[in-house]
């Protein structure tokens, strides 16, 4: 350890504000990027599933219409 006490570690030789600002913003930005990427992946899967459901419904409706016309 280069720092004797915890408060010295937070103080960073007088540069504490700038050092923790840098590390804090980096952590926040990276966290947002990671979480939004994971969320985006789930969203893509959900969207495809929705589309498939809609297409299946359309197909059923068309089949029924065909049946009604024929009968």
């Amino acid at each position: 350890m280069k720092f004797d006490t915890f408060s010295a570690f937070i103080n960073m030789g007088g540069y504490g504000f700038y050092v923790w600002l840098s590390y804090g913003i980096t952590a926040i930005l990276l966290l947002i990027l990671i979480l939004s990427s994971i969320k985006g992946h789930r969203q893509v899967i959900k969207n495809i599933a929705h589309r498939k459901q809609r297409e299946d419904k359309l197909r059923q409706v068309r089949k029924q219409q065909l049946k009604q016309r024929n009968s």
Binding site: F3, G13, Y15, G40, N47
Partner: protein, 254 residues
């Protein structure tokens, strides 16, 4: 000789390969970054001139060089996609853009927070800072173009051309500290020859740098997989995969 690469041109194979390496990359990124950051913050020596503000270096420099590295990767992918119409290259370029933009923003913000105590100002319109800001605008332009068209192929083409034009900015950023008089200090790490920093500072830097590289690959992998799914949503293999994912989620909820 390059035949082993051919199967990876298949989106399905690429999707599963990216999924397989994802946990390993994540573990490496977490391990290297936690070692590197703790080392940089608590155990590395303070600089004899800049004191403890030098600790910003351990994220500023990796972020800055990765912002340029990701752009180069994106440009290569854009070139391959434009010339050979290779669709996976376009998907990977789309996956890289937001990651690169974030790292450019990190480089600019940490640079400002380092500049304030060292130079006395958050921002100055000098060559290095301005060209890095232009890099951020290039990334934002590329992202905007990628989302501007409903047709993904057209969007990829437009964004790819902007990406290739923007490559001119990379040497300008790299050599700006040599070509012009600037407040920004010269590079601390030189690839050829001995690094001008002490070993005690070099090791935590290498851990941070490698950790960030792995983190970047993790995020690009995740986004690349989403892109593949979105672009192949009509294929049967995607359909069955989506069904599997959803049923798995439902059983997890129960």
């Amino acid at each position: 000789m390059w035949k082993w690469l051919h199967p990876y041109a298949n989106p399905e194979v690429s999707y599963h390969f990216a999924g397989k390496i994802l946990p390993w990359l994540s573990a490496l990124a977490a391990l290297l970054l936690s070692i590197g950051i703790i080392w940089a913050l608590a155990f590395a020596p303070a600089d004899y001139q800049q004191g403890d503000s030098f600790r910003i270096f351990y994220i500023h420099v990796p972020a800055a060089s990765l912002s340029m590295g990701i752009y180069l990767g994106m440009a290569i992918a854009a070139f391959i996609s434009l010339v050979w119409q290779f669709k996976l290259a376009d998907a990977s370029a789309t996956a890289m853009a937001p990651v690169g933009a974030t790292f450019t923003a990190i480089a600019l913000i940490t640079g400002a927070a380092w500049g304030k105590p060292m130079w006395g100002t958050w921002w100055i319109w000098d060559a290095r800072l301005t060209s890095e800001l232009i890099l951020l605008f290039l990334y934002l332009g590329v992202i905007a173009l990628q989302n501007a068209f409903e047709d993904k192929n057209l969007a990829g083409k437009a964004a790819g051309i902007l990406t290739l034009v923007g490559v001119i900015n990379l040497p300008i950023i790299k050599y700006s500290v040599e070509w012009w008089n600037t407040l920004h200090q010269g590079s601390t790490i030189s690839k050829l020859g001995k690094p001008s920093m002490s070993v005690e500072m070099l090791w935590p830097f290498l851990f941070c740098f490698l950790g960030f590289i792995f983190l970047v690959s993790v995020i690009i992998c995740i986004r690349f997989r989403s892109e593949i799914l979105a672009r192949n949503s009509l294929r049967p293999w995607v359909r069955t995969l989506v069904l599997q994912c959803l049923t798995q989620e439902k059983t997890n909820e129960v």
